[in-house]
Symmetry: C2
């Protein structure tokens, strides 16, 4: 049966692309209230397309943009797969940098260009098109629950309550998310690890108002000076993070992972050239891949103090602030790390300054076991989908909070089977999704439903 | 003769205030091109007032706002005193914080409130009113050259070329500037030392574009992290500046100065309370006065990197910048210090970041000998003007570049005899000048011309 499905997909490349183009034309920018109607329109488009394919599709309200929930005809003896994706997109600005308008999809150089092509409408469409091909053969061999939300780009802020409310409808054996990348062009990948995040803000106040640096300088606490001293103290000379207990729960990279990652076709000089730096740097004793995927970090994401305009102003600022985020790895606990950070910062605080801290966000790291039958199914499906034996098992440095949400709320492990490429420019002008990625991704999704059908429910 | 002059001044308080009010009404904001005509009007007002008093007053063009230059009838056997002041003012914004409009002078609580009252129109007026009183007695007993510029608040950018062009007309034996403060209310002061300034900007670039902190964090140089490390390295734990050779030329505070300053009625707890801090801090082993007046500093005046809006953005910035100024003391050389700073910063620079530095401004420190006949004349005049034996000899932490300019271009030592108070809120809303300061200042100027008349020309 899978053979026929794949043949159908191979014959439907043009039709699948045309359907995706209609989906891409809808400017479902979730962060902009002016596009609230477009988000609703986009949900309608998706639900009505799925209904046409023969699924039971619903548009369910949330506190924000709606969720599309769809299911195929239930097969009592088969496992259930929850497919998560999102139909909302990032804002397209700056518009003048787009070679073709962001909501007028254009095909060139073997790719489709528009906002949301890779993140995540194109990858959602891999599932929709795979399902269409299966429906022609009487339906997929698993129970599929498709959950497509409209608020991923604004932090999935209503997803937790949605999942709690519709828990019964979301029961499944495994989850699948297609919102990650291939390792590189031609080497598809399964992502089995994500870093977590703790994002803090520090606001340090010295004098109660800005002062003239000539009249007062040298005799009063300058919060900008002190903030730099505090922040500088948070790293050791070897590049590691200098916060007591920070590494207590860090799972070391296993020798097997190290070996496997060394086999990957990583081009360090191309990596640096793309970033305009002669060489990378970071924690001593680790490669760039290891630093990005499996070691925790502390990065300043924003600094603000004093005069920021052109020229000079001789001011001692009253206030200096920093946004600081830490990427976490298994098995670090975000709240423990946030507390350790705050303790380390306060330990360096002079007693004539005031410090306010706030936690902007936190999410835990993810590590999915790679030896499970589900993971083996994903590898096999990817081999089939991409016509290759080479499938990378990788981790990623970013965070996908919904993976953790599905684990915590529904006790689901997630297979991250994504088809993007590092140069797809998600969140930037001229976002693209390669036509081969769309095609191979659709084949992979179709094969994945097949491979998962033998999973013990 | 001085007795008659002082009697005249005592009898003319109201008239002097009325004249000053007309001067204050003109919004001579030098930085705002919309007020260029007002600056011209203000120069005209001043020149025509001085002409009415019987002086030869000219309005001389510069590359910017004009200079008013005025002289009394020349007395061949008498010394010449160059009086410098400025008729331009700071912008009045924020307007909504003024209790009375900034250019509608209002008298309340024994002070006159308007923009420029203390800085520097009111202090200029002390000289104008003193001169008016002397003119009633046939003119002052010295040759006065009054130089009032209109660009002090924008860096006196045309003053050097003006002084060079009119050098012959500006020859003098001593200079007087009234643009400083009393030590405190009731304790008038002569300022004999100023700190210098080196103001630098650092622009540190890591990756060529902003990066996602999840995807890249830990493997690439973060210029915000590195900038903090560099800046933090510039101080020692004892609060001193950690730049090689920084202290090489620093003139130690003499035991006599230390003793004299300890006699001044300094209220450390009031100083801290006003600033909203439990205690000051700075270089170990020095008092607040010593730190402000006679020790060099390094202060961050501005920090900018990454995301500065509300909330969180997980960005590794490409660029991080800092504005850093150093206050210098005798006998530090600004250009030597700028070079030492740059060398120290570059010594800490990782080889995969790029640093651009720029020098915004520099000026040398000033120390006028306190044992000269001119200084003794200033002390005696202040005693007479304020009816007190107590006159403080003080230094100041800020910089007055024109003092150095007069020294370098005209070889003149400057007597800094000022009448402001620390709480006059110069550059801020509700700037004021106390009516007693105006009166005692006028008396002091009148007495100063008398005391200086015996100076050897």
């Amino acid at each position: 049966m899978l053979t026929e499905v794949l043949t159908t997909i191979d014959a439907s490349r043009d039709q699948n692309l045309r359907d995706l183009i209609d989906f891409l034309k809808i400017p479902s920018v979730s962060t902009n209230p002016d596009h609230a109607d477009d988000c609703r329109l986009c949900a309608n488009f998706l639900a009505s397309h799925l209904t046409k394919l023969g699924l039971r599709a619903e548009i369910l309200p949330t506190g924000g943009h709606p969720v599309v929930l769809a299911k195929n005809t239930h097969l009592p003896t088969r496992p259930t797969v929850l497919v998560y994706g999102h139909y909302d997109v990032q804002p397209p600005e700056p518009l003048d940098q787009w070679l073709s308008p962001p909501f007028e999809p254009a095909v060139r150089d073997g790719a489709i260009f528009a906002r949301g092509t890779c993140d995540d409408k194109g990858q959602v469409w891999c599932h929709v098109a795979a399902l269409a091909a299966w429906q022609q053969q009487g339906g997929p061999p698993v129970n599929l629950t498709l959950l497509f939300e409209g608020e991923e780009e604004i932090g999935s802020r209503n997803l937790k309550s949605f999942v709690q409310k519709y828990k019964d409808q979301l029961t499944a054996d495994v989850a699948v998310i297609s919102d990650t990348n291939q390792f590189t062009r031609g080497l598809p990948a399964i992502t089995y690890g994500l870093r977590g995040l703790v994002y803090m803000e520090l606001a340090l106040t010295g004098p109660s108002h800005d002062l003239h640096s000539g009249l007062y300088g040298g005799a009063v606490p300058n919060p900008a000076n002190i903030l730099c001293q505090i922040l500088a103290s948070l790293h050791n000379p070897d590049g590691s993070v200098n916060i007591p207990n920070f590494y207590d729960d860090v799972l070391p990279i296993s020798p097997e992972e190290r070996d496997a990652w060394k086999q990957l076709p990583w081009d360090e000089s191309a990596f640096c050239k793309e970033l305009g730096i002669p060489h990378g740097n970071g924690e001593a004793g680790y490669t760039s891949i290891e630093r990005k995927w499996a070691r925790p970090t502390l990065d300043i994401n924003g600094l603000t103090a004093g005069y920021q305009g052109k020229g000079a102003k001789t001011v001692i600022p009253s206030l200096a602030t920093a946004k600081v985020s830490m990427r976490l790895v298994p098995n670090q606990d975000p709240l423990k790390i946030a507390a350790a950070f705050e303790k380390a910062v306060r330990a360096k605080l002079p007693d004539n300054c005031k410090l306010e801290t706030s936690l902007h966000s936190s999410s835990g790291p993810v590590l999915t076991p790679i030896t499970t039958p589900a993971m083996q199914a994903a590898v096999k499906a990817t081999q089939t989908g991409f016509n290759t034996q080479q499938v990378a098992l990788m981790r990623e440095g970013g965070s996908i909070p919904v993976v953790l949400l599905l684990k915590q709320q529904l006790n689901l492990d997630t297979l991250m089977v994504g088809f993007g490429l590092d140069d797809d420019r998600i969140h930037s002008p001229n976002e693209k999704f390669e036509l081969d990625a769309l095609h191979h991704g659709t084949r992979t999704c179709a094969a994945l439903y097949h491979e998962l059908s033998t999973l013990k429910p």
